[in-house]
């Protein structure tokens, strides 16, 4: 009975696919699993037990240490102050770069002017400049502005670097909105900013979410700008994490390192979980005409 064979073959194929996908999932989850379990073990247990074993006695001491007592060089305040540095850096930087990107995209897509394409191309070009290239000139500019070593300086750097991407996102989103909408609003008497606030911004939730996720991930995870343009007291969490892991005296506290790494990664994870479904929707929104 060929029909039956065909059916069995399909089921086998389906199961084979699921098993393969399951293996891949396990493979990718392995590091996270090791990180979480290790962070919950005592140093004693790490030394004696297996890397992949579940913790015998669950302890939250490494997390407490990583948060409040771990040493970065000579200071032993944990990640806490640097976590707040990163929050104070990421929140304004994300907000400002997203807003500027929205306005830029709105102008480039809907208020065509002579040279609009050239300006947009130049902004796109900005997305492809490697971080390392701008380090020295940026340090000079920050110095001249009196922002060297401050969190405001880092916000400034990330806003500048983010505008290219945020403009690209918003421009591609707004370019699909019919130009007649702006025309209708102009006839209705609305001006440049009124049209932006009352008509375009309320339409933009999906692309705002995409931009916020993108920018937040970039800025929160950035290490190079953080390490280059900060000083003691203004370092972001990535730099502090590096310092904790690399400045061990005596025994290497793997459990504290793991807990610290998870703490540093949690905010971006959280943003994905909360806004993830909008992310996919927003990324594809540009390609399908609403």
């Amino acid at each position: 009975m060929p029909h039956r064979q065909n059916r069995l073959g399909r089921i086998a194929l389906r199961w084979g696919l699921y098993i393969l996908l399951g293996l891949f999932a396990l493979y990718y989850l392995m590091p996270l699993f090791v990180m979480v379990t290790t962070s919950l073990k005592s140093l004693e247990e790490i030394r004696t037990g297996s890397l992949v074993a579940l913790p015998r006695d669950v302890t939250f001491e490494p997390w407490r240490t990583a948060w409040a007592h771990a040493c970065t060089g000579i200071q032993c305040e944990g990640l806490r102050p640097y976590f707040w540095n990163s929050v104070m850096l990421a929140v304004p930087a994300v907000a400002i770069s997203t807003l500027l990107g929205a306005i830029n995209g709105y102008v480039v897509a809907q208020w065509r002017f002579k040279g609009a394409n050239i300006i947009f191309s130049l902004m796109l070009f900005g997305c492809f400049i490697p971080f390392q290239v701008v380090l020295l000139p940026m340090a000079r500019v920050l110095g001249m502005l009196g922002l060297a070593g401050s969190i405001s300086g880092l916000v400034f750097v990330h806003v500048i670097y983010g505008i290219g991407f945020t403009t690209l996102f918003f421009r591609n989103y707004y370019v699909n909105i019919p130009v007649e909408l702006v025309k209708a609003a102009k006839v209705d008497g609305a001006g440049f900013f009124r049209i932006f606030w009352a008509i375009f911004l309320p339409l933009s939730l999906p692309i705002i979410v995409v931009t916020v996720i993108w920018q937040f991930t970039q800025i929160w995870n950035d290490f190079l700008f953080g390490v280059s343009f900060s000083q003691a007291g203004t370092q972001p969490i990535t730099v502090a994490l590096n310092n904790i892991v690399n400045s061990t005296t005596g025994v290497k506290e793997y459990n504290v390192d793991m807990a610290a790494a998870i703490i540093a990664a949690l905010p971006t994870l959280l943003v994905y979980v909360v806004a993830g479904k909008y992310f996919i929707r927003g990324l594809t929104a540009g390609s399908v005409k609403g």
């Binding site: 007649e180 909408l181 025309k183 209708a184 102009k186 006839v187 209705d188 309320p202 339409l203």
Partner: protein, 365 residues
């Protein structure tokens, strides 16, 4: 009375391309002007220029007796309805309609009174709390009209407002716009590529082609006395028959000779027109060719023609015959006995004829 809209010597270029060339149009209060032409003829651009949404390269635009050439759209005292309706997607119908008043800072009470008036007029009261996405095409169209009506402007501008609707709804909305024009006694400029829309709505038609005005006139003038071959061919459905012919002076009138296949020349005698050059294009609408005995008049000529095709269309039957190298359509009554391949006696009403110069397309009579 002073014209509501006066466009003088308007020129519009996009870079090096000339889109509109020396346009001159004037509209009296209460007129319904339709700009019609094939796609790419510049009619929408002209409307945008009138609205102030496109800067003009030369000439001037006056609205209500004031020079508006460099005035921004919001101060031109106009309202506009767009092809895609351009409703604000995140606002309710009510907010869409009142947005303009809100921007202009009208007080809440006035806004609500005007909204209620317009909603009643267009019968959209039950839609006021919905969003554009929840409306059908026809309903969106009404809301877009409401947004224009509520402004109470000197001049209404319509940019192909019915093109996105299906055929049945289009006819309905067409008569509704006509009624609205009548009831409001408003002045309107309406852009369309549909010549039937132009004929049914307009009190004055402007035919555009390649950014040049071909003819301005009432629908009857445009239909009966097209200024050139383009207008003759563009306006009317089925199109006017345009047949190459030879004209030979014949006493008071003219003898028209039309070549046929097989060497047998069709000869008509036009008693009314004279002074034609030798080669002309004869233009005659399908309804001006009838079956023999169904058309009377002083200048009706009969001739026997071969039927190449019969197309019954319900109310009428179209009979196609090859004359002068082109297919000539005659509009006969529904019960005609015409059969493909047979001969039929047709009456040509030459009192309705148009003559054109073959090379330039200009009208001769």
């Amino acid at each position: 009375m002073a014209p509501i809209l006066e466009v003088k010597n308007l020129v519009k270029n996009f870079g090096a391309t000339e889109v509109l060339k020396d346009i001159n149009i004037a509209i009296e209060p209460g007129e319904f002007l339709v700009l019609v032409g094939p796609s790419g003829c510049g009619k929408s651009t002209l409307l945008n220029c009138i609205a102030g949404l496109e800067p003009i390269t030369g000439g001037s635009v006056e609205i209500g007796g004031q020079d508006m050439t460099h005035v921004s759209p919001k101060d031109r005292n106009i309202a506009m309805v767009f092809q895609s309706y351009a409703l604000y997607p995140t606002m309710t119908v009510a907010k869409n309609i009142t947005f303009g008043m809100k921007v202009r800072g009208l007080d809440q009470a006035t806004q609500e009174r005007k909204l209620a008036e317009v909603a009643a007029q267009l019968q959209i009261e039950e839609l006021l709390n919905r969003r554009p996405g929840q409306l059908s095409g026809g309903q969106r169209q009404r809301v877009a009209m409401g947004r224009a009506l509520v402004r109470d402007p000197k001049l209404f501008l319509f940019d192909e407002p019915l093109s996105n609707l299906d055929a049945k709804l289009r006819v309905e909305m067409r008569s509704e716009i006509k009624k609205l024009h009548h009831n409001l006694d408003a002045t309107m400029v309406y852009v369309t590529h549909d010549q039937i829309e132009a004929m049914t709505l307009a009190s004055k038609i402007v035919v555009l082609k390649g950014g040049i005005v071909q003819q301005i006139g009432s629908p009857a003038e445009i239909y009966n006395r097209p200024a050139n071959l383009f207008v003759a061919d563009f306006m009317g459905s089925p199109a006017m028959n345009l047949v190459p012919a030879r004209a030979v002076a014949n006493g008071k009138g003219v003898r028209i000779e039309i070549e046929r296949e097989g060497g047998d020349t069709l000869i008509l005698t036009d008693k009314e027109h004279s002074g034609l050059p030798e080669n002309v294009v004869l233009g005659l609408r399908p309804e001006d060719i009838a079956e023999k005995g169904f058309r009377a008049g002083t200048n009706v000529q009969d001739a026997t023609c071969l039927v190449d095709m019969v197309e019954p269309a319900g109310a009428d039957t179209y009979v196609v015959s090859k004359l002068g190298g082109t297919m000539v359509t005659a509009r006969l009554h529904a019960e005609t006995g015409a059969k493909t391949g047979q001969m039929i006696d047709l009456s040509f009403d030459l009192s309705k004829v148009s003559y054109f110069v073959p090379e330039t397309g200009e009208r001769l009579n």
